[in-house]
Symmetry: C2
Subunit: 199 residues, 2 copies
């Protein structure tokens, strides 16, 4: 399949790209600051340009999303707005604008995360964004069929413990390679409206 | 208790106000276009003014939230943004800005809705907003204790079947009086981080 991968240069994106390539897929790597296709999906207009550039694809996989981390009391309206634009609207628009470009039985796979289910201090904007996406995936699935949409929602990666482990005390991490397999499952499987959890 | 009620003039707000008054509480009714306190919580600056006006309260209850309904393909980035500002950020800011005004063991009760769990066609923005709030409530709860926060998430009201029943085929409605009791449960109970479901 011809697969558009957003956030291809990140830790998750690199693993997803590798897993999809190992399965024989043709991966088109998109990044804000690296790769052949340089687009920032936080800007809806750049998503339009991206789809104009790449044309038809069989699947869209996203491993990109930015949210701020602060105590609730220190957040500002702009922080929540930034989480919305940087992780929610960006991926919602990737789907909405991509409907005309993805194959009839093609798929969208979005990235959410464990914080919608299991919160941590300073994570309220991330929880909000992930909860929004989990629910959007269920809602969009019943409208866009036979095109499919799923999300991947993992806890902290084994490979990220050094940076983020202190935020996840006593929580068993998952290997990023296992998270990448959830993307393979979404892309090659037949399910839709699912949030694949790894925690 | 002294309770600030947002969206007091709506169908849900009227029932919540009545249920709280029946329990002997002093309800301060807030509305965009009616009531003694006229403020639009979709504007964070008006939330600041509202709290300056009312001072200390024991609880904040919200029955206010606007989202657009359209097929995914007909939505625009502004529609999703409008759902975010009109239902999510408005209630998030009601909590964040209210931390200094609500009693030490006081509570916030927000309104979400069934569409985060059970989607309907044209409801993707509502699903997104409700999912965001369900998760925010869980996340904020662990930071703001001993202040508490819960959400009420109901399916279609019996009293709204004439207007909205066609969107909920085969779904058993709930009486708005029962939904109002979930607010009483949140305000007078001891739980936090809960989404009280009625469906």
């Amino acid at each position: 399949m011809r697969i558009l991968l957003i956030g291809a240069a990140g830790r998750l994106g690199t693993a997803v790209g590798g897993a999809l390539a190992d399965r024989g897929h043709d991966v088109l790597a998109v990044g804000r600051t690296s790769g052949d296709l340089r687009f920032d999906i936080a800007d809806p207009a750049q998503i339009t340009e991206l789809y104009e550039r790449v044309g038809k694809v069989d699947a869209v996989a996203s491993a990109a999303g930015d949210v701020p981390y602060k105590p609730v009391a220190d957040m500002t309206p702009d922080d929540y707005e930034s989480a919305f634009r940087g992780k929610v609207l960006s991926q919602v628009e990737l789907v909405r604008q991509g409907l005309a470009n993805v194959a009839e039985r093609g798929s969208f796979t979005l990235v959410t995360g464990v914080l919608s289910r299991e919160p941590i201090p300073t994570g309220s904007a991330a929880s909000m964004a992930n909860g929004a996406l989990d629910a959007f995936v269920r809602a969009a699935a019943i409208e866009i069929a036979p095109q499919r949409i799923n999300a991947v929602s993992a806890t902290v990666f084994t490979e990220s413990l050094e940076e983020y482990g202190d935020f996840f005390p006593g929580i068993r991490p998952v290997d990023v390679a296992d998270v990448a397999q959830a993307y393979v499952r979404s892309v090659e499987g037949g399910q839709t409206g699912q949030v694949y959890t790894l925690d």
